[in-house]
């Protein structure tokens, strides 16, 4: 059962297996494996955690948050995009009022630009919330990721199904020394872990690669 432990790193970047941290998820798994070596004819009923219906995070998960520097990255790219979008939305105003090429009513072109400005301000406001909502957690057999506040998403990727991992960083990320990981399985969209410090990204990549090799399951 030693394989089922939470994995952390040491200095060599090698996967080591620290003593168990008993979270309910791991306990449930351990007892099930021990008590039922073969398929039981029926599965036990689902263990409802009784915590209500207005969230989706599995209980008792401590999420690791992304680097605070990632907020800066997101803000800069948001600013660039906002400027582009607002400039585009101002084009009708420019064409009708200044250049006189188009014949659009004034209220329409003005409100188009105004709506875009409000929308971009809103997007800029929620960036902080969005970044705070990002998280990941290395479980015994899975990598869990979460994101979103209004549209939430929790994803579980079994280590043994990881096909490959790409580590990359864009120009803005490079400036503040961050990277992101792209984790791909044989099915579905790839899982992106953004805003990792380079060292942390490297550590994660090493460990995930090791784990995916030792736990690899053929298709």
């Amino acid at each position: 059962m030693t394989e089922n432990r939470l994995i952390e790193d040491n200095d060599q970047g090698q996967a080591v297996r620290p003593p168990a941290v008993a979270t309910p998820w791991q306990q449930a798994q351990a007892t099930e494996t021990v008590s039922s070596p073969a398929f039981t004819p029926t599965l036990p009923p689902l263990d409802l955690d009784g915590l209500g219906k207005d969230f989706i995070d599995p209980a008792d998960i401590e999420w690791k948050r992304v680097s605070p520097k990632y907020l800066k990255v997101r803000m800069i790219s948001r600013a660039i995009w906002s400027l582009i979008m607002i400039a585009l939305a101002c084009l009708p105003l420019l064409f009708t009022e200044v250049l006189g090429w188009w014949n659009m009513p004034l209220w329409l072109s003005v409100s188009l630009a105004a709506v875009m400005v409000v929308w971009q301000i809103w997007l800029t406001i929620i960036v902080r919330r969005q970044v705070r909502a990002l998280g990941y957690s290395e479980r015994a057999e899975h990598l869990l990721t979460r994101k979103g506040i209004m549209f939430r998403q929790v994803r579980a990727v079994p280590y043994g199904r990881i096909q490959f991992i790409d580590m990359s960083s864009g120009p803005i990320e490079n400036m503040v020394g961050l990277s992101h990981l792209d984790i791909k399985t044989a099915g579905g969209a790839s899982t992106v872990l953004p805003g990792l410090d380079r060292a942390e990204a490297q550590r994660l990549r090493e460990i995930l690669t090791d784990l995916s090799e030792t736990k690899m399951v053929g298709l």
């Binding site: 991992i165 399985t185 298709l219």
Partner: protein
Amino acid sequence: MSASKRENTAHSDEPLDREQEQTLTWRRAHPLSPLVRSWLIIVAFLFGIVRPAVEDFFRGDDPLTFQDLATVRPPESGMLAWLHLFGSFWLPVAAVLVFLLLLVPFFLTWFFYRFAVDTSNVYVKSGMLFKTERKARLDRVQSIDVSRPLVARILGLAELKFDVADGAGSALQVQYLSYREARRLRDELLVQVRDLKSGSKPSAAGSQLEPGHPDSAPGAQAGEHHLRQRLAQHVTENFRGVRGEGEQQIVHVPVGRLLGSMFLSLGVIIIMLMVVTMGGLMVWADVSMGALFASNMAVFAGLVSALWKRLNTGWNFRLVTSPDGLKTRFGLTDTVTKTLPEGRIQSVKVTQPLLWRLTGWYKVSVALAGQGEGENTAFAGELLPVGTRADLLRILPLVVLDETRGGASAEQLHAGLDAKGSGHGFTAAQLTARSRIDWFAISRNAFSLTPALLLVRGGMTTKRLSITPHSKIQQLELKQGPVGKRFGYADLTVTAAGAMVSSSELSLVDAETARALLVRQAQLGVHANQVLAAPGVYSQTEQRTALD
């Protein structure tokens, strides 16, 4: 051992080791293969140049030449004088030269295209300027298909396709070999693949077939030297079906039923109604015929070509069992044989569109790993394009684990096909969530967990049942939007490999159940493998996964 790093995936484009390369015996493809690729040019040549020339010859006319040009204006340059000298002889020669020049790249491609096979890999080397060397590990090969496009068939050639299990899903191909050679090589390699895979899992049943078992296809030994024989064989394959050794037919889809199923789809009926309305308008309202037809021609042509394509590909669809796994065989002009080793099936989906309820028809499709995006993907994942309930009940036991092995019972499958609400192991969405949102689909949306399988039922108009083994699940995703938060539900998406039926979405389960299901499903996905690894517990199950 694994495909977890990009460099380690089953395909690699890196250069091969020199020493390794020397031990291989490289072989060229069949010398006729450039003709298969250049057939379009050849046909264009024959029609454009040769036919008028021959016709002119028989009519006694002079072919249109530069001679006229030359007589009108006296030759000034050496070139035109040259032309004048040769007269009508010039043009055909030039045409033939240009034609041969056009063919040169195809022959060069063939010349630089080599392949080799050793005990554990298949290698393909190609390219003159941009050399590529690809290799596929045989123990990663999911299936080997012999495919025969029409032109290749006429020339007596076939193509070998290797489907390899990596996420990218591109396949390695050997183009082209003689049909007999292709079949022999495939049978040989399949045995090798089986040996390699059973070698890595000593507990598995292993292969009972001795290496190089004799080619079993009728007609393959009787050399196919004559076009007539080949055509006869084509007809035999299409209308009577080839049986290999140990093959047993499970279902056959009559052409009439395929046609019927095509016309019983909602889209087709709407377009037919449109056409009828058009006709009506023409007769009674006296609308200009030409304008009407012109405006709708594109739609009409699209419809006809789509229908033809499906009919052509699905012609005489057969599903057979064989020692190598399930095989499907289909196609009118191109007969395709697909082998589906059982471990390669990732997920099974049964659907029944609304209008098929009138006739009681179902469709069964499977998701496959490493399915290349070839031209023949239309029926690639279909086990049954259209079939009766009896056909369905014959097929499902072949691909779905039964109750004794942790799978689904017959009642459960029936409930998955027909029933609504909870019961028979299915858990439907809670009433609170159901009463307000999507109340059309909600009473059928349900899931059921067995020790080995996840069954998801859904769809009010098009009934769906998808069956995914826990061990094949690649990732799990739970989502909740603002509306879901308001009404307390969440969506769980389960993804398996393969493009055809990739994810079964458990929409509108209440959030608490969805959360518990995510945890349970995550446990089962890993747990199931641990159980399968324990020797002697479920030998039957192990056999099923021996080809993993």
